[in-house]
């Protein structure tokens, strides 16, 4: 699904060689400030980041592609701190992003309301301004709605648990596990043991300055017990 070779982000990380396969769930961990969020945003093509090396998604080289081209191929990034845009409602946003025709609106609105209800968001969530006057947890849930409603093949979620309460974490875990199939890939940046446990990832990667350390779930257990210097 996604393959990074000799991948480097100027002044952040270098020497990254890793493959994320289809039908798998991955967790990325790393010390504060090491560049986990930056890595995800660089894969998505954030213009302010200077990258070298190769990044391929579905065998297509990404490095020269615009951000929206990557998104339209099925890549999705869930922001750690989603941007607020007053004057644009949550569903209006979905409508624009999915370029919905008149006949498609009702079905999509019902789907939107169904997910927001499962996530215990307010009844009028579709009409609320995009990430405006929303709590941190509500913003994260909104990112999840977008991910589920778009044609996402690769989901990269940056600390989706932050700001969520206990019930929210449960809903998040359920929705992500339900979404994950043999045709898509989930990458989650998190330090939260309950989420890691709930997602039951196929692999854990620990990001270092000049390489990545990979392992199974026991790697996370080791980090929780002994810290990042132990790996």
């Amino acid at each position: 699904m996604l393959k990074l070779e000799n991948y480097a982000i100027k002044d952040v990380v270098e020497g990254i060689n890793v493959t994320f396969d289809k039908g798998r769930t991955y967790v990325i961990m790393g010390a504060n400030g090491v560049g986990k969020s930056t890595l995800l945003h660089s894969i998505m093509g954030k213009p302010s980041l200077e990258v070298t090396g190769s990044a391929k998604f579905l065998d297509q080289e990404l490095t020269e592609m615009e951000v929206d081209e990557r998104a339209n191929m099925g890549m999705f990034i869930g922001f750690q701190a989603p941007t607020s845009i007053p004057g644009l409602s949550n569903f209006q946003f979905i409508k624009q992003v999915k370029k919905l025709g008149v006949t498609e609106i009702k079905g999509n609105l019902d789907h939107f309301k169904d997910i927001s209800s499962k996530l215990k968001l307010p009844d009028d969530w579709d009409k609320r301004n995009l990430n405006t006057d929303a709590s941190g947890g509500e913003k994260k849930k909104n990112e999840l709605i977008q991910m589920l409603m778009m044609d996402t093949k690769l989901a990269m979620l940056d600390e989706p648990d932050s700001g969520l309460d206990v019930d929210g974490i449960k809903s998040l875990t359920t929705e992500l596990n339900d979404w994950r199939t043999n045709d898509n890939t989930l990458i989650v940046v998190t330090h939260y043991d309950k989420l890691i446990e709930g997602l039951n990832p196929d692999a854990i990667f620990v990001l270092k300055k000049d390489h990545m350390v990979g392992g199974d779930k026991t790697l996370a257990d080791k980090i929780f017990a002994e810290g990042f210097d132990s790996v």
């Binding site: 998505m44 954030k46 213009p47 302010s48 615009e66 951000v67 929206d68 998104a71 339209n72 999705f76 990034i77 922001f79 989603p82 941007t83 845009i85 007053p86 004057g87 644009l88 946003f93 624009q96 992003v97 995009l130 977008q146 778009m150």
Partner: protein, 421 residues
């Protein structure tokens, strides 16, 4: 109208040749002694002496003041050099395409204003109980028109020129008995040019909303040539007026002075949108009496290379007035915009509650946007606030929208839409 009245005499035009003039030349011409003295001999001078007196005084004032300069507060940021260099075609050679207005035959409750001509749909022209009344050069009522004409004694000098070029103003009266008829079924007012040749059309219009009447006007300003509009709206006691004004660039330019006289208990709402043009100046002058409510809401998306300049001035001389001015401008490449807002709150205007906001979004580095709020307060018992901002497109917003699959153009359009919302 001045073209019909003074024809070929204007600036010694040569028959058959295309002659171009500037606004300054036209202003100079109507300020000459021979022109001013000539007013005494025109058709209306004996029939409507008050018209003659007010019009002549206006010309004398215009001669004394001249056209505004950038030293005038309301034109500090305006591009007057561009305005005064616009070429205006002498009218006699122009073929007017009145067919443009033939669509009115299939419409209801619509009025076209075109170079002092007032063209209405059939339902509005009829004499019927509580229908609107029209006073123009055809429907003359000496006493009533004399009263209205006296009100056209404005201080602002571009409206003086508009009036100078519109010797016979039109009056539209909404009687008290109409109650909310014209709110439920609004009137469409269209300010249109009849040609795409670069002529200058002028309209001076008085709208009288009589006491307790509730009126909605849906105004369309489409300028395919030059247009100078001077509209006065009189809101009598407890009257309500809502104006939804859309101004679209059709290749011309436009000066629009709107004067609102708000009597006690009246309520005024103006919602407007504008695309700008090669030169647009939109001014609002609001005079509030007592217990008036004023709400001015602008959402202007100024197209590439267009100019849009605005001055909003509210004068409050009595107590318990409420005012909200909220104007948003988006400027695309090479656009130039300015906003100057002024509250004049007099010593007797206690409990004035005012809020003035102007937000500007620049979509490109070469856009010029100016904003200036002015609050001149002469009493203590008030609530007043202002907020004016100029900002660029937020890169984080752009990136966020792009990560969801929108390209740069789609993301920009969505950001404009949400900004103006």
């Amino acid at each position: 109208m001045y073209k019909q009245l003074f024809g070929a005499a204007l600036l010694e035009s040569s028959p058959g040749a295309e002659n171009y003039f500037t606004l300054e030349q036209i202003a100079d011409y109507v300020s000459t002694d021979s022109y001013i003295d000539g007013v005494d001999f025109n058709y209306w001078s004996s029939k409507l002496p008050q018209y003659n007196k007010t019009y002549k005084n206006n010309l004398i004032d215009l001669k004394a003041q001249g056209l505004p300069t950038s030293k005038s507060e309301q034109y500090n940021f305006a591009n007057l050099r561009k305005l005064y260099n616009l070429e205006i075609l002498d009218a006699p050679d122009v073929q007017y395409d009145m067919e443009r207005f033939s669509y009115l035959a299939d419409k209801y409750k619509t009025i076209v204003l075109n170079d002092s001509r007032l063209i209405t749909t059939n339902d509005l022209g009829k004499k019927a109980p509580f229908n609107i009344q029209i006073l123009d050069s055809i429907h003359v009522n000496k006493n009533r028109m004399s009263e209205y004409i006296q009100l056209l004694n404005q201080e602002e000098n571009l409206s003086k020129l508009t009036y100078a070029l519109t010797p016979f103003p039109n009056v539209i009266v909404f009687p008290s008995g109409s109650k909310d008829t014209f709110k439920k079924t609004p009137i469409d007012i269209k300010y249109l040019n009849s040609t795409e040749d670069p002529v200058l059309d002028c309209n001076t219009t008085i709208f009288d909303i009589q006491y307790n009447a509730k009126v909605q006007l849906n105004e369309t300003v489409k300028t395919s040539a030059g247009q100078m509009n001077y509209s006065m709206y009189i809101l009598r006691e407890n009257a309500e007026l809502t104006i939804n004004r859309t101004s679209r660039d059709s290749g011309g330019w436009n000066i629009f002075d709107s004067v609102f006289i708000c009597h006690p208990g009246s309520k005024l709402t103006v919602n407007f949108t504008n695309t700008g043009s090669q030169y647009t100046q939109e001014n609002f002058y609001i005079k509030s009496s007592r217990k008036t409510e004023v709400s001015i809401n602008g959402k202007n998306n100024i197209f590439r290379g267009n100019n849009y300049h605005q001055y909003v001035h509210q004068k409050s001389d009595d107590s318990d007035n409420y005012s909200s001015i909220d104007i948003k401008n988006v400027g695309k490449e090479f656009a130039s915009t300015s906003f100057i807002g002024r509250y004049d709150v007099g010593a007797l205007s206690v409990n004035f509650d005012g809020s003035m906001n102007n937000e500007n979004l620049m979509l490109d580095k070469n856009v010029k946007m100016h904003t200036r709020p002015i609050l001149d307060i002469h009493t203590k018992e008030i609530k007043c606030q202002h907020g004016c901002t100029v900002s660029n497109v937020n890169d984080e917003h752009m990136y966020y929208l792009q990560t969801k699959g929108l390209n740069k153009t789609q993301a920009t359009d969505l950001l404009i839409e949400s900004f103006l919302c």
